[in-house]
């Protein structure tokens, strides 16, 4: 009666499991994924250690000299070696503003996706697990939510907030407000993904088995079903980070996002935009390039994850 198919007696550790996993295997073989991850990690590290590595502090008015305004990057004529990527119209070091700006953008990106995830997972689980009326109501709310564009939500919320608390106050909590706006505007994306995979998982027998055990709905939803829907959530969350960063940039570019005193990549692009005519293209183009690279690598990582976690899709 002794089962003998599993030959090795040692139980692999988590790290060994990971090393043996398909995820790790395909990562090892995928150059694009490796480079994307490398760039992404480098950007994130640089952005979040901005106060440590940035040459100047763009928020510190004392360090800014208006006489240094619109200096080009070092490889161009008339540059100042102190400003690697040149300066903007107010004389701030562009490299520093980009580092700080990327930090704001990433913060909003991560924050918004976290909020989306929270709402999306909760509503997706409820809709998928209970079905029926709860499902119908939640999914109609999601549809309505999606039919308002992020922009509209931002304009309305921003206007209401500014009207009640004033511009100054808005500047202080702008990051939170943007996280809230983008998070609320886009949770249905995640909720739909979660709902679809909950529906698939719910029909599997291990869920019946836990119902037969008498476990409560909350336990079944969060301990049994949720862990099995994580891979699609992971994939869509990655893509959503890129989307959130883009949304933030778009809002800021339109003047609905971060104030110039606390620039994100989007507001940097916007503030530089006025100077393209005068020949200072770098003020807008360099942060733009950083934004494009950031969004691109996140999307590439998302694509790779989707291929790995859904091999059926991959093989077509």
């Amino acid at each position: 009666m002794t089962p003998s198919t599993t030959t090795t007696q040692v139980v692999p550790t988590r790290w060994q499991r990971f090393r043996a996993s398909y995820l790790f295997y395909s990562f090892k073989r995928d150059r694009v994924a490796q480079i994307s991850l490398l760039i992404f990690v480098a950007l994130v590290l640089a952005a979040f250690s901005a106060p440590l590595i940035a040459p100047t502090d763009p928020y510190d008015l004392a360090q800014i000299d208006i006489l240094n305004s619109e200096l080009p990057p070092v490889w161009m004529e008339g540059s100042d070696p102190a400003f690697l990527l040149g300066t903007d119209a107010q004389g701030r070091d562009l490299l520093s503003t980009i580092l700080y700006g990327a930090r704001v953008s990433l913060l909003i990106g991560f924050g918004a996706v976290m909020l989306q995830g929270l709402l999306g997972i909760l509503f997706g689980l409820l809709a998928g697990y209970y079905g029926g009326r709860i499902d119908a109501v939640l999914m109609r709310i999601a549809d309505i939510q999606l039919s308002f564009s992020t922009l509209m939500v931002a304009i309305v919320v921003g206007a209401i907030f500014k009207a009640t608390f004033g511009n100054l106050m808005f500047g202080e909590v702008a990051v939170l407000i943007l996280i809230l706006i983008i998070g609320i505007a886009e949770w249905p994306q995640i909720a739909r993904t979660v709902r679809a995979s909950v529906l698939a998982e719910k029909s599997k027998e291990y869920v019946d088995a836990s119902r037969v055990m008498g476990f409560g709905s909350a336990r079944i939803m969060f301990r049994h079903i949720l862990p099995n829907t994580l891979s699609p959530i992971f994939v869509i969350a990655t893509v959503q980070i890129a989307n959130a960063i883009i949304s933030e940039a778009a809002l800021s570019f339109l003047g609905l996002g971060m104030p110039e005193t606390q620039p994100s990549l989007g507001s940097l692009i916007k503030s530089g935009f006025d100077y393209i005519q005068s020949g200072s293209w770098w003020i807008t183009l360099v942060p733009g390039l950083v934004l494009v690279v950031l969004v691109l690598v996140v999307n590439l990582l998302g694509d790779w994850l989707r291929d790995v976690m859904n091999p059926r899709l991959y093989k077509g």
Partner: protein, 328 residues
């Protein structure tokens, strides 16, 4: 010479952990009009053996060695184009899932006509006549109506009948049926098997029947191959194998059937499970599960010995035969 002859077939799958060998040194033959059963547990390599005859193994599988002869031609040396002339024409296949053969967007009649006209120069009308005739042969109720129906309009049993009609369409020499009734209920299975048997006899078609159901094998086939972990471990006349199996695995398989134990008593189980192909034990692959295994079995791969009408790959059987000869 046999109609189909497979010699030392070696099929592998290139997987990320390295190659695994799905078939090892598989040799067998099939005569004209003969019915051969292939039995074994799932994963033993039955389907791979069937698919490799017409070189239908999908990536990452490939034929690494051995040769296949059919009616004087060497299939294993043929181009894809030449093989296509044989497939469905002289050797046809029936799968467990009828939808592997049926095209969901074409009516039954269209599919049959298309298949006929791909291999024969006949008019649409003639082709339709033949198709109708075949549908009558498989005893489908209202065959005329079926010609214009689509696969999804038919039940599972009906679809499998259509598949048999299609398999017979071009008067093949061999039908390879891979678990044709596994997905069906017993009453439908009984009808389909009876039909297949009747038609094969009537048209003198050779049948290669893959199944894990020993009862079906004993009802339908004349000769049986037993496969284990990618190898043939016993082959011979079905009657002999069922009534007097020599290999401990075959014995175990038969004795494990509920009907071989008294009601309410424990079944005669074989311990353990078949190894996966990347962890096949050395020597005889069955040795960890075998009650008769010796040190020799754990190290040396057994060769075939002849015992009665059967060929058996087992050291214990060989020793018993040698001993008997010694005494004689």
């Amino acid at each position: 010479m046999a109609l189909l002859e497979v010699n030392h077939l070696d099929v592998r799958f290139a997987l990320r952990g390295g190659d695994i060998q799905a078939l090892r040194d598989v040799s067998f033959s099939l005569d004209r009009g003969e019915r051969l059963g292939i039995v074994g547990e799932s994963g033993a390599g039955k389907s791979v053996a069937a698919f490799s005859i017409l070189n239908l193994i999908a990536q990452p599988g490939y034929i690494a060695g051995g040769d296949i002869h059919f009616d004087g031609q060497t299939l294993s040396a043929m181009s894809e184009h030449q093989l296509r002339q044989i497939r469905g024409h002289r050797i046809s296949m029936i799968f467990q899932d009828p939808m592997m053969t049926l095209n969901p967007v074409l009516s039954i009649g269209e599919q049959m006509v298309e298949c006929l006209r791909a291999h024969r120069r006949i008019s649409h009308r003639e082709a339709r006549e033949i198709a109708l005739d075949r549908l009558k042969q498989v005893q489908i109720p209202s065959p005329q109506k079926r010609l214009d129906q689509y696969p999804h309009e038919l039940s599972g049993g009906m679809r499998q009948r259509i598949i048999i009609a299609i398999a017979l369409l071009l008067d093949p020499d061999i039908i390879i049926a891979d678990e044709p009734t596994t997905a069906l209920d017993v009453t439908i299975q009984a009808e389909i098997m009876a039909l297949l048997l009747e038609l094969c006899e009537q048209h003198n078609v050779a049948l290669m029947l893959i199944t894990h159901d020993l009862g079906v094998v004993s009802q339908v086939t004349q000769r049986t191959l037993v496969m284990y972990a990618g190898r043939i471990i016993e082959q011979g006349p079905t009657k002999e194998i069922i009534n007097d199996a020599q290999h401990p695995y075959t014995q175990g398989l038969i004795n494990a059937l509920p009907q071989m134990a008294d009601p309410g008593q424990r079944l005669n189980q074989i311990r353990g499970a078949m190894p996966s192909l990347n962890a096949i034990p050395s020597g005889c692959a069955f040795n960890p599960r075998c009650d008769f295994a010796t040190e020799h079995c754990r190290h040396v791969m057994p060769e075939f010995v002849t015992s009665g009408g059967c060929q058996v790959a087992c050291h214990m059987v060989r020793e018993m035969i040698e001993e008997a000869q010694h005494h004689a």
